[in-house]
Amino acid sequence: MPGTQVETRYVGSIGMEVHAELLTESKMFCGCRNAFGGEPNTRCCPVCLGLPGSLPVANRLAVELVVRAALALNCAISPIAKFDRKNYFYPDLPKGYQISQYDQPIGSGGWLDIESEAGPRRVHIRRVHLEEDTGKLMHLPTGDSAVDYNRSGVPLMEIVTEFPPDMSSADEARAYLVKLRAILTCIGVSDGKMEQGSLRCEPNISVRPEGSAAFGTKTEIKNLNSFRAVHRGVQHELARQVALLRRGDRVAQETRGWNEARGETVLQRVKEVEQEYRYFPEPDLMPVHIDDARVGLIRARLPELPDAARVRLVDQYGLSPAEADLLTQTAAWTAYFERAAGLCGNARATANWMMGELARLLNAANLEIEQCKAGPEALADLLAMVENGRISGKMAKGVWEAAFETGEAPAAIAARQGEQISDADALGAVLDSVIAAQPDVWQALCAGDEKKLTFMVGQIMKQTRGKANPGEVNRLLRERMAGGAQ
């Protein structure tokens, strides 16, 4: 049939490089403190400034944390790991090389399972290795740049997914990152703070016509500092590449940055030639031998991982898998849920409340659950008060907001708020009894005799001994009048 053409369908391939700063007290190769922020260049020494003559000595805990992460990600642990130098010039890299791991990473050949709209999927992990972070660049008003080496030498773990990629959509990319973050925070390896850059992800993306075996040219996206940005960035990039191909253009191998404000990826750098990093074994550091006994010990000390917690939450509390996912997003969420549910004895209400009101408030305040002033004990008290009818569900929201804001005990807040009856259900009941006692007045009012309104309010106030919220009473009356007029 001339003129008709079936539009080519494209499939996406998404790989992911994730960098996580490790939760150590000191840096990777020196004793400077590993912390976020602070005055520039105040956590620096000859080693992390790369001063001539300085030498690195590797942090034992950092090695152990990477082993822990690799085990949690189902990797094989290399019995002999070594450090290598990755050579390139950039002002945030003080030695002109980054100490990293090249051909003998600590972990390799792992996986993690994700669940997305497309169903369950196993994402394979090629390697997990240990390296050091770089400094930070800032711009000076003169147009020059300024370097702060506080972050230089902070222990950094890199997790790279396997090729060919297992992921094909933005949903999966986000699900992978959510799960990875859940695991890393659960095992105490990373604080998972994407907004502070302690967890960073760089997806690489390509598309190819459905049925084609050859992978398309891939691009890398940087500057993705939230799950939402990852989802939007990947989605945008997939669409951009498909549009290019549909137009008959080709995709260039390049690094693109996510521009949150514009909601699109923008070109950062064209990668014409592969960078030549001239890796070679780091002569200043000896190999690390990780024997089976050590691996066994670290494995034995792993806490319950999110997948196991998720299964258990479904079994034990009757939650749906999606609910369990949300409640195991970090170890802190799981702990919060289990504590609150245990105290109040109502797992269903606890789950609903956490996924609804708690998540909403945390989101609005941009807080982590660990920072929440209203702990699981507060939530349990609140839910108990609802359950035994001391407060209504609606009132509970107000009490919870106040508790979230101030950290005050819900019982105290409810007692104070209880002095005035604002609850619509409670006031509605009073209103019903007043209407029943004064049917003529009510008829007149509904017929348009506005002067009768004051009388009705007066009756309600009398019945509640003045505790009714007059504004709320007025609102309810008018609502009921409108209903009565129909």
Binding site: P52, G53, N87, P94, R278, F280, D284, L285
Partner: protein, 488 residues
């Protein structure tokens, strides 16, 4: 009475300890000698007179109070300028570090300070310790005290000349391919490269990290041993330093070498070795045998590949070690060049000398894609073969003896245009760096008024046997007592 500047390090230490002289007198006498000899030899890049006198006064004060004083209290020393000294310029003989004052001390610097040694200055060297003549210093060559028209050897030429001429009683050098032993030989003093890992490298500006080692230079084996005693030992700041049984200077000075088995590798006695040098080494072997040792010729078949192996591995590591000189955090920033990358290129172009650039280029090439296996990895494997040669030899012998340098000192400028000839100066010393074993050079003869050096190599961490052989030979001969006549 012998002038203070001619007395041994041990003598000076004992004299200060007993109160025969004050540390200040010792320091002042050496500062005077520096003022006298420096115009001729140019051994030092910086003289730290004020600091030195302050340190000396502290020693004298402590002694007068009856406080404990360090093992080297009052001993005047110099440090090669690749060793970091807090607040004192450390240039590595390079323009790119002109005026750089490290905010920290190298571990050896701190240990010598703690031992009460008095640092008089920083010694000249080839830029970043790359060279065999000290002509690659951006601050001009040092001259050989025995013949001012000749080189002192290198790269620790300043450290060697300063000791030979009596400016200091001892010094520290660094040795990556022979940079302590070869200048010691050419200047007629004792120079020891310890086993890799014996002395901390923390604060030693790196040339080739897997080969570099700091070691002592002095006018006698015992003096070198005393210095080693003070600087050796495990350092938590250097992950390549080794927790070996401690070295004890006294036990190395027992003098008895009866039954010592000496191997003489034939590879270092033939072509390329000057006749008088080979003769002097043979005579030295005979002298050792006269003291009760036995000697036998042997072979290190792969050792002849040391030069090629070295000139791949060392530049490869150097190309990476020298990447930090980018004009950002320290050193000299050159004007010109656009943007940050242009600034870095301009700074490196202006800051590095030709030899340093050559080694950076060779090393970068050896590590680059497509050449890594053919050059770098191949060299690392050959290095394994060289080490095996030594392992096999040390099953039969306690020490191995060779010339330190195939020739005596050559003229300044003589080999400048022939870098390959220059590099041949290290053929005898390179293998010990490949294997990581200790090697000492001691004076064993003279040729046309210039000293000849004897190299004795020992097993890993067996400095004791190595130095015992060297000490026994020294005590039986007079070569170490000869002194150059410079500006006296």
């Amino acid at each position: 009475m012998e002038p203070l500047t001619q007395r041994s390090l041990r003598d000076l230490r004992d004299a200060v300890r007993s109160g025969e002289v004050s540390a200040r007198e010792v320091a002042q006498a050496h500062l005077n000698r520096i003022a006298e000899a420096e115009p001729s030899v140019s051994a030092l890049l910086a003289v730290t007179a004020d600091d030195a006198l302050t340190q000396a006064d502290a020693v004298d004060l402590a002694r007068s109070r009856g406080d404990a004083i360090g093992a080297l209290a009052g001993v005047p020393i110099a440090l090669k300028d690749v060793i970091c000294t807090r607040g004192v310029a450390t240039t590595c003989g390079s323009r790119i570090l002109s005026g750089w004052k490290p905010p920290y001390d190298a571990t050896v610097t701190a240990r010598l300070r703690a031992a009460g040694a008095v640092m008089l200055g920083k010694a000249n060297c080839d830029e970043f310790a790359m060279g065999s003549s000290t002509e690659n210093s951006a601050y001009g060559p040092t001259r050989n005290p025995w013949n001012l028209a000749c080189v002192p050897g290198g790269s620790s030429g300043g450290s060697a000349a300063a000791v030979a001429v009596g400016e200091v009683a001892g010094s520290l050098g660094s040795d990556t391919g022979g940079s302590i032993r070869q200048p010691a030989a050419l200047c007629g003093i004792v120079g020891l490269k310890p086993t890799y890992g014996r002395v901390s490298r923390f604060g030693l500006v790196a040339y080739a990290s897997s080969l570099d080692q700091i070691g002592p230079m002095a006018r006698s084996v015992e003096d070198a041993a005393l210095l080693l005693d003070a600087i050796a030992g495990l350092d938590p700041l250097d992950a390549t330093s080794v927790d070996a049984p401690p070295f004890r200077a006294e036990s190395a000075m027992r003098g008895d070498i009866r039954g010592l088995r000496i191997g003489v590798p034939t590879e270092f006695m033939g072509d390329g070795v000057d006749g008088p040098v080979a003769s002097a080494v043979r005579a030295a072997v005979e002298a050792l045998c006269a003291l009760g040792a036995t000697a036998e010729e042997c072979s290190l078949p792969t050792a002849r590949h040391s030069l090629a192996t070295y000139y791949i591995l060392a530049p490869a590591e150097a190309s990476s070690n020298l990447a930090r000189y980018d004009g950002v955090r320290f050193g000299v920033r050159a004007a010109g060049g656009f943007g940050h990358a242009g600034m870095t290129e301009a700074s490196r172009e202006a800051g590095f000398g030709a030899e340093t650039k050559q080694r950076i280029l060779v090393g970068t090439y050896a590590l680059s894609a497509g050449y890594y296996d053919a050059y770098y990895l191949q060299a690392q494997k050959v290095r394994t073969l060289i080490r095996r040669d030594f392992d096999a030899a040390f099953k039969r012998f306690d020490v191995l003896v060779t010339p330190t340098s195939p020739t005596v000192a050559f003229g300044i400028g003589e080999r400048s245009d022939d870098p390959l000839a220059m590099k041949l100066a290290d053929v005898c010393t390179l293998p010990a760096n490949m294997a990581g074993i200790p090697g000492v050079s001691i004076p064993c003869g003279m040729d046309r008024g210039l000293p000849i050096g004897l190299q004795i190599m020992g097993r890993s961490f067996d400095e004791e046997t190595t130095l015992r052989a060297a000490h026994a030979y020294e005590q039986a001969t007079h070569w170490h007592t000869l002194r150059p006549e410079v500006a006296c």
